[in-house]
Each structure stands twice: as C-alpha cells, then as structure tokens.
Amino acid sequence: MGKRVVLLIGTNKGVFQYTSNEERKEWKLSGPFLPGWEAYSVLGDSRNGNLIYAGTSHAAYGASIRVSDDMGESWRQIENGPSYSPESGFALNRIWQLVPGPASEPDTLYAGAEEAGLFVSYDRGENWRELKGLTSHPTRPNWFPGAGGMCLHTIIIDPGNKQRMWVAMSAVGVFRSEDGGETWKACNRGLSRVPTGQPEDEVGYCIHKMVIDPNDSNTLYMQEHGGVFKSSDGGDSWFPIEEGLTLKGDDAPFGFPISVSPTGDLFLVPLESSEQRSMKGGKMLVYSMRPGESRWEPIGDVMPDEERHVSVLRDAMTVDSLDPYGLYFGTTSGEVYYSLDRGVTWDRLPGQFSRILTVKPWIIEE
C-alpha cells in the first residue's frame, strides 16, 4: 500500500491542490476550485472516504462550508452550517479553521469562526451547533477585534484526553476546556497584553498561532503579537522563548505562523515588525528550535539569491506526518515553498496564486 500526498492551498480566490507520492519530488497542481470564494480554512479528511472541506467566505455574501467527495472536482454547500442565532448579535464572517474531532469520533469536526466562536458537527459536517459556553464566557463583552478581524483561528484537541481542548483567538487570547468545549477558562497569564482599549485583563492577548508539542500535551507554543511563548502547564502560565530571534530596539519578535514537526522541531517565519509585516530586508529566513534546545536558529534561507518582501499568514505554514516530514509555507504573494530536510534547503512548487491564506497537508493511504 502506498501513500498519496496532497497539499491543499486556500487562497483569497479559491482552493488549489498539489498531489504527489511519498517521495514528494514531483507535484501535480489542480484547481482553482471554488473560484471567487476566499478559503480561510481547508481540511482533507480520510476518516469516511476522502472528503475535502473548505470554509468559504466573501466580503459581500458571508460564510459557509463546502464539501467535495471527488477530490475537488465538484462541491456541495452545507445547508445547516455554522450560524449564530439572531439573538446573539454576532455575525458569521469567515470560517478560519476546520479540524477533525478526536480519533475515537470519526464523524466529529470542529470549526473556528469570525466573529470568534466555536462550532461542532457530529455528523461529518452536515449539521453544526455553536459551543455557546465560549461566547457566553463572562469576558465576552470585552473581546475586541484586531486588524485581521476577531477570529478563532486555532483549535487543539488533547490527543490523550478528548475532553480537553484549547482555542486561540486574535486580540482575545487562549481558552481551555476540560469538558469537551462546554465550559472554558481563559489561559493568558504571562502573555503580552495588546492595547485593545478594553479594561478586562483576563483577555486582550493577540495570539497569532498556537501548536501543541507532539510528545507532551501540557506543552504549548505560540507566536503572539508581542513575542514567542511557551507553556509547560497546559496554558496556565506562559513564558517567552525568544533567544536567538533578532530584535530591533524594543520590538518583540513578530510573525504569524508557528509549526511543530512530529519530531518536535519548531519553526517560525519572523517578520520585520508589527508595522512593516514583511521579511526583514527581503530575506526569507526560516528559524527553528530543535527539541531540547532553547535557542532559535536561522536554519533555512529560502530564496538566497532574491529578495522577497512578503509575509506568511498564520495558517499558511504546516508540516506533514511522513518520515522525513515535509515542511511547507505559502506567502501573501501566492508562492508555495517546501523543505524535506528539516527546513534547511527549500524548493518552490510550480504555480503562482493570489494571497495564500492556509496550507494543509493530507496523507491518503492507497
């Protein structure tokens, strides 16, 4: 039995798909699928056949979830998708994240939304309900949108305890649930608060992306608006891990994505600053921190011969689950790069897209 490797690319003008084999040397590009729709989230799901889910949205026409059962050739819009009640006063503007439920629940999916909220489906994405314990949290009146919108962009389920999960939201912070998403606790102690203009100090933390250590469910890492942080106690407290990241003046290390490999390698793509939000000097450098080390190193110069004054968005860097693992990222100018040697050397995949919003690997057993 072999493996097919698929890389799903969500852009602000549709979804694209690269396909390869385990070698990941030759890639076939297909798409655009769902042209004209922005896709902030994509998910390839092999738990019940091979389904592709896309969280689609449009500035005029709102957000919904679409699904394909033929590798993107045709799509069906979900009728009972995530939605807020009229009484809530909230608007569903985008679907920022689609993740599979715990391993023991092959029909479960979670969706993270803008305005920030969490939705669950127990029937392969056909019917969704809001987990209202999050949006009825006492701090909710003090949640305030950042520049990217008030989005719930990260959903992590503890691989060892399906009742325990974390969500992260821009300009709001991290919340943890111990009861499958019914009730939530803010977990932001030690993070850098951003000026949202709101008085509540339990929230107001601008998480850009958060990942969980593959070997320890109490260890989390995040790229935050105000730095890079680690928690060793499941999010109860956070401390900075910034050694080796070059700082300019008082600027905190700024960037959007953070990724972790199945072997525990961490990756960042630092940007110049919050104001500039592009590669420092046009140098596209990937930084890594290896397991057991405490210092970030610039391990990969992706385009040594050319300047690239671009950015990588929070959900646009990812790692696949193969050995050796593949590391991938897409830029705001629509290029996709990948490395098969822990981020040291890089190749560019063929094709040029518009702004890349999300990149997700999908390994299909054949």
Binding site: G62, S64, S83
Partner: protein, 91 residues
C-alpha cells in the same frame, strides 16, 4: 404570477447551478420569501443573522432597489424581474 429571477454566478451553487430562473408569486414580498424557501442555501448569502439584507448585496425589483421601496406588498406583473446584485463599492 411568473417573474424572472437572476443571481450572480458566484451564488449559483445555491440555486441548482442556475443564474436565471423563474419564480411564482403574487407580490414582491411573497417573491422574496419564496426565493429563500425554494433555495434555502441562498439565505445565508443574502441576509444577515438578524434578517437584514447584507450590506453589499442589492436586491432589485425591476429597476428599483427594494431598500428604496416604501412597502413590499406590491402586486407582481408577468415578466417582472427580481435581481440579486453585488454592490459595487470601488475597485
């Protein structure tokens, strides 16, 4: 009364793949109601959670934006048009 309805191509996966189709209704209000009854996927794209027409969506009855109309209980005539348009706000 049979009227002509058109929607943007982008929304045609909410209307069985069609951008032009007919609808039976006696009044404009009924036509608007029947549009989302017959094509429920369309509702989320045209209206907010609170039931208002989305900010950048225009619903035109013949040459009139329905937002300009004082009432929606307007008797329809054969061949009237109901158009879903995206507001052009620059670019």
């Amino acid at each position: 009364m049979r009227i002509q309805v058109s929607v943007p191509l982008l929304l045609s996966d909410s209307t069985k793949g069609r951008t032009k189709f007919e609808l039976e209704a006696e009044t404009l209000r009924e036509a608007l109601e029947r549009l989302v009854e017959e094509y429920p996927l369309l509702k989320v794209h045209l209206y907010t959670e609170q039931g208002d027409v989305r900010k950048h969506v225009l619903l035109y009855y013949n040459e009139d934006n329905i937002a300009w109309l004082e009432k929606l209980d307007i008797p329809l005539a054969e061949g009237d048009k109901l158009r879903v348009l995206q507001a052009v706000s620059g670019g």
